[in-house]
Symmetry: C2
Subunit: 338 residues, 2 copies
């Protein structure tokens, strides 16, 4: 026999399907005679009954799924976020549908379309969403959304982002405490909100501490990649500006610095200290282990899921946004200047 339906349970328990439905649903169980309920539940168990959420969804217009829109699961940034999301979705009876957009606006659009047709109840969006109009349109159509890692400006969507400014501040303070006065910044692309926020935070952290605020100490990388980081550091070095430490826009950019160190025979940390950003896995295995700012990715995911679940429960509730605190992880790539 195939998996039993509600009808089978009802028949076996000698009640009407509607009664069985009420008995089996904790929310409506109160409407049913306790004995009957018990009996129905027992029968359901013995039959191995499993409710069919699809059928339920058809009726209630709730699918019990949410869409997770990420650029690329292969980017080490995202697995912990997704894990955090799943961890709160699951106990709530929800499942996440993951799509990878590779940051291609066309795919993004198509994938979101897909998700919507699958009747997801909301979207957790971790992509850059270059196609800003899409965001606005989704909002207009009443699609529930939470943005991760990115605060959409000019549009009222709940978001959950790391407190990048304070993170940069942490890095600068750490270096200043070690005695560095001339600290460089290899910024990420300024079109990305992260790149911009961090670069701005860097300048103000430098100024706040009265360190050398020299525009030549900032170099903008064209991508968030090792290659771009290497290019950036080379430019900085070739410019002849003096500096004893660099705050990298993220860990990948810091990794690019390592390449340049090897290539030019520069010793880290004795000649140049480096601080990364993100705390990717295995950074502690590098020589030297990379000092970096840790982002609580999993919590970010968890928080995002909570926000979305809240929005689903009460769509009218105003959009909250959360800023998550970061922490400094001191390893071997930073030391006092010599």
């Amino acid at each position: 026999m195939q998996t039993p339906t509600l009808r089978d349970v009802a028949d076996a328990a000698g009640v009407h399907p509607a009664t069985a439905s009420r008995a089996l649903n904790p929310a409506t169980r109160g409407l049913v005679n306790a004995d009957t309920a018990r009996r129905v539940i027992k029968v359901a168990e013995s039959l191995g009954y499993r409710p069919n959420p699809i059928a339920r969804g058809l009726k209630t217009a709730k699918s019990g799924t949410v869409g997770l829109v990420i650029p690329d699961l292969t980017n080490p940034l995202f697995p912990p976020i997704v894990r955090g999301i799943e961890d709160v979705l699951e106990p709530a009876g929800y499942s996440g549908l993951i799509v990878n957009t590779d940051n291609d606006p066309g795919r993004e659009r198509a994938q979101i379309e897909q998700l919507r047709s699958r009747q997801v109840e909301g979207l957790i969006i971790a992509t850059a969403l270059l196609d800003h109009p899409l965001l606005a349109q989704l909002r207009r159509e009443g699609v529930l959304m939470v943005m991760v890692n990115r605060r959409p400006d000019g549009i009222d969507v709940p978001s959950i982002t790391p407190d990048d400014a304070t993170g940069v501040e942490l890095a600068v303070r750490h270096l200043a405490d070690l005695g560095h006065r001339r600290i460089a910044h290899l910024a990420g692309p300024l079109q990305t909100s992260t790149g911009l926020v961090r670069a701005r935070a860097f300048r103000s952290a430098i100024r706040d501490r009265g360190l050398d605020d020299d525009p030549d100490l900032v170099e903008v990388c064209t991508y968030w990649s090792e290659e771009a980081g290497a290019v950036g550091l080379r430019t900085l070095l070739d410019r002849g500006t003096e500096f004893t430490a660099v705050v990298a826009g993220n860990d990948l950019i810091a990794l690019g610095c390592y390449d340049v160190f090897a290539e030019r025979g520069i010793d880290c940390p004795s000649e140049i200290s480096v601080v990364g950003f993100n705390d990717m896995p295995f950074l502690d295995k590098l020589r030297p282990p990379l000092t970096t700012i840790a982002i609580p990715h999993q919590q970010i995911g968890a928080e995002a899921a909570r926000l979305l679940l809240d929005a689903i429960a009460d769509p009218a509730r105003p959009a909250r946004s959360v800023l998550l605190p970061l922490s400094l992880v001191v390893r071997g790539s930073t030391a006092p200047p010599r």
Copy 2:
């Protein structure tokens, strides 16, 4: 107006919903007058009609989803696999529902239960599934499955696994070619099929090439972890057995070796060469960059998804199993013995 239904389209096109359904479904479009079909399609487009897979699923008993059962998305092994899976699922109109089991048999059982109630059409299983009976039961109940990274013995389920034996062979050959004669093996836990297969392959590769086949050269690690790898190497070293190279059960174990090298002032590769297994991300950033065996994780995922899709299309087709070839990535941790 809410998202339009098939009825809306039919009304607007002046046809019966059934006709609209036929026109919109490529598979049944032939049953309909070409002109009518065109008209319906046009109307559907202009209305922004999106079919509701849930409703369709209710009727056809197909959900368009498959379950992905993995231990922990946070383990760098799995993201590429999942990505590979998604990449073939998506164009086929399927979505993957991911669950993390943390290798807890109870959770695994519950999660699979969950997936089944969500009417997944099949399961891609990447966990150890310690609870072997569960596997057998699922088979018995006709659940379509594909195993990843693990060949279930004694049970007829399609699987897609890396060709570990040849991988180990590759590593041993590489070291032998460099001139090593006494090669050690830090095996992964022998209760895991991977650990066992690799350890066996090691012995036979050694014998095949006429190298020193000394049981003292093999040490079994209790986990697939750095810590266990470090412990293993220390044991090997303390035993006093001579060796100039080690084949690690996986990259994490190799990383553990790096720790011991640092701790005992051993130079790699001049004193001891190391080969890892897996080619995790960022291995090229280590000092020295780790030579390792690369597993085509993404292809594994893609292949697994294809297998499952095939099984869904034709459940009667006999279980195929695929062995994927590995490759050697030579980096800086291997050199001729001195």
